[in-house]
């Protein structure tokens, strides 16, 4: 009886001590999941989700305060990646994905006010005061900030043009014989 109580007490003390030390030595600052989630998000800090930038959105996602479908520029792929990471099941078919888009400057309307490239989070707009601005396709994330900033509505979002390099076959239609 005494041996059993003593051994269990010692065991408990030693393990408790170990846990205590481990909790101190191996402590993790902040939630690592937030960083991982942030890596999935586009990182253009566009604010379309209603949170202050992608870091804020990541915090809200981890806290469960925001749905995984919050990121419009990310599209379906980001939703799928977020759901996988957070262990949430989502029905992807209901999500509107307009496909990859980019901003385009209508040159006849651009007055060269430079407002759009001042708000562009990825420096994707080139231009100078009183010169027509232009968008770098490769750098544009389609966040839409420039559309709001443009005083002459010279910027619009449009689908990324299909080229010989980016074209691929459509999914075969399922028309099975009865």
């Amino acid at each position: 009886m005494f041996v059993a109580v003593a051994s269990l007490t010692t065991l408990g003390l030693i393990l408790g001590l170990l846990l205590g030390v481990a909790a101190r030595r191996l402590a993790v600052e902040g939630n690592p999941l937030i960083e991982e989630i942030q890596a999935i998000l586009p990182g253009s800090q566009c604010g379309q989700c209603g949170f202050p930038g992608c870091a804020g959105a990541a915090q809200a996602l981890v806290a469960g305060e925001a749905p995984v479908t919050l990121c419009p520029p990310g599209g379906r792929d980001v939703v799928a990646a977020l759901a996988l990471k957070l262990g949430i099941e989502v029905d992807l078919s209901g999500i509107k994905d307009s496909g990859p888009q980019i901003a385009e400057v209508k040159e006849e309307l651009c007055i060269g006010c430079t407002r759009c490239f001042k708000v562009c989070p990825t420096d994707a707009i080139l231009g100078a005061s009183k010169h027509i601005h232009s968008v770098f396709r490769e750098a544009c994330t389609a966040c839409g900030k420039c559309v709001e900033a443009c005083p002459t509505e010279a910027i619009a979002m449009r689908p990324v043009p299909v080229t010989l390099q980016s074209w691929y076959w459509d999914k075969p239609e399922e028309r099975l014989a009865a």
């Binding site: 586009p42 990182g43 253009s44 800090q45 792929d77 990859p100 989070p121 990825t122 420096d123 994707a124 490769e138 750098a139 544009c140 994330t141 299909v162 080229t163 010989l164 980016s166 074209w167 691929y168 076959w169 459509d170 999914k171 075969p172 399922e174 028309r175 099975l176 014989a177």
Partner: protein, 503 residues
């Protein structure tokens, strides 16, 4: 023949060859068409960039577009004439999207530009041969259209020991490689010797399917006295797949995702060897190629030597036009080629054939559900499970299809060909490969834009800090000035009563 008793081709199918339609007619030269539409994207890699302007006179063989970047190929004028236009034109691509094209109006004189012909081509340095092959715009003429000089340079650096010349031509209908071997064997052997010298390899094997006995005999005759060995291989589809050919000839398998050079092998097509001979020994750039015109819907099927940029319609016209209404026009072979949306698509370097097929030949049965009979598994030359891959792609699970080996699929079409349920298996795989590539591109772009966003944030913070610092400095300066002024005033005030006192 001992070698072949050990070789068992993996998978593969035996489609009706239909090569008899065009195999026995000698090569004819197509008369110059009215206009040539020379595409600047006739190869894998970056499109060539034009070096001529509209209206400029060009000579046959003159450089009209230079290669751009490491993997690219230059383009030359197929005949003399003047540049009528530079702009987008129909491209030989299943999408039907246009490609940048230089349109040339021939002047009918067919006048060569000055050619740089070496005195002894076989004495050229290996680097020099590769340079000349690159300058001649030679790409893989078997259909892959990969710039040949890039392959030569990689092979020289990786010490390739065996050169395999692919005379498989396993696609049904196509006979252009067969004809070139029968009629121009000596030039092919010369090209093989030049490639050997460029790469520094000792062994050269020519693999020819045993359904082309005349080509085998002609090549053996031409190879006499050289160290080029001609080896018949069993006829089956896809024997002309470079890795299958390598397995058949040297008994080694290229690892998944690897290149032939990983096992010390370089594979070139017979027509490429011929083009190398033309370019290095005669100084002529790649401006024409042999094209098989065939199919039941063509009056006289034959092989034509065609200037690059000729619209397919000119080939059909020369062959007596259509016999009835063709149900489908195909560029390339019937297994791996693609449908032409209209007959004005120009011939490019990779065009091995143009086919006009009848309803009877194409057959468009309606697919029915997969019964998991696994006929496709036996047909797959790579050893994949097409039925499993297609099933996962169908429900949108692309990642699992990659685990099943989607990336190793060569889209040869054997599985679709044998499927008793007529499921368009290759179509599924092509779609999935494209979708995955698009995702990969999107991911790369996202990584790039993320870096840009971070750089911008950093810059903005720096500017804000600099501003703050500047305003603080200004404030400090102002305070110091005011303090100095106050001190001066105090001093003056202190001095004044003293002065009064002394006064």
């Amino acid at each position: 023949m001992k070698l072949f008793s050990r070789f068992k081709p993996q998978g593969g199918v035996h489609p009706d060859g239909r090569k008899d339609l065009s195999a026995d007619r000698p090569i004819r030269v197509l008369p110059m068409p009215e206009r040539l539409f020379v595409s600047l994207q006739q190869h894998v890699g970056a499109p060539a960039s034009p070096v001529v302007v509209v209206g400029e006179k060009v000579l046959k063989g003159q450089l009209i577009a230079a290669s751009q970047g490491n993997i690219s190929a230059p383009v030359h004028a197929p005949t003399s004439g003047h540049v009528a236009a530079i702009g987008d034109y129909l491209a030989p691509h299943p999408s039907g999207l246009p490609a940048p094209t230089i349109t040339i109006e021939p002047d009918g004189e067919d006048c060569w530009a000055a050619l740089d012909v070496p005195i002894d081509p076989y004495a050229l340095e290996p680097e020099e041969i590769a340079k000349r092959v690159a300058a001649a715009g030679i790409v893989g003429l078997g259909g892959a259209a990969f710039p040949s000089a890039v392959k030569l340079n990689i092979s020289r650096k990786t010490n390739v020991q065996t050169l395999i010349i692919n005379g498989g031509e396993c696609e049904p209908y196509l006979t252009c490689d067969d004809r070139i071997m029968r009629e121009r064997a000596a030039a092919i052997v010369s090209g093989i010797r030049l490639i050997q010298r460029a790469v520094g390899c000792t062994e050269a094997l020519v693999g020819i399917e045993d359904n082309k006995p005349e080509a085998i005999a002609a090549m053996r005759e031409a190879a006499k006295g050289t160290d080029v060995k001609v080896m018949p291989v069993p006829a089956m589809y896809p024997m002309g797949w470079d890795k299958q050919m390598t397995r058949a000839l040297v008994g080694k398998e290229v690892p998944a995702g690897g290149r032939s050079s990983d096992i010390g092998v370089l594979v070139h097509n017979v027509a490429t060897a011929y083009a190398v001979h033309e370019a290095v020994a005669l100084g002529r750039p790649l401006i024409s190629r042999l094209v098989t015109v065939s199919g039941e819907a063509v009056k006289i099927a034959c092989n034509l030597e065609v200037p690059l940029g000729t619209p397919a319609q000119a080939l059909f016209d020369y062959c007596g036009g259509y016999a009835g209404v063709p149900a489908r026009l195909v560029m390339g072979g019937p297994m791996m080629g693609h449908e032409m949306p209209n007959p004005y698509i120009p011939v490019v370097k990779g065009t091995s054939g143009v086919l006009a097929l009848t309803h009877k030949e194409i057959g468009q049965p309606v697919p029915s559900p997969c019964i998991r009979c696994s006929t496709c598994v036996r047909a797959c030359p790579v050893g994949l499970l097409p039925l499993e891959m297609a099933a996962h792609i169908r429900v949108g699970d692309l990642n699992t299809s990659v685990d099943f080996g989607l990336k190793d699929c060569i889209a040869c079409g054997s599985c679709s060909y044998v499927c008793p349920a007529h499921i368009p298996l290759v179509h599924y795989f092509n779609f999935a490969k494209g979708e995955l590539a698009a995702k990969e591109r999107a991911k790369l772009k996202q990584e790039g834009t993320k870096k840009l966003a971070e750089a911008r944030n950093e810059r903005m913070e720096k500017i804000a800090r600099a501003r703050e610092e500047a305003s603080r400095q200004r404030a400090a300066k102002k305070a110091a000035q005011e303090a100095a002024k106050k001190a001066a005033a105090d001093a003056a005030a202190a001095a004044a009563p003293q002065q009064e006192a002394t006064a």
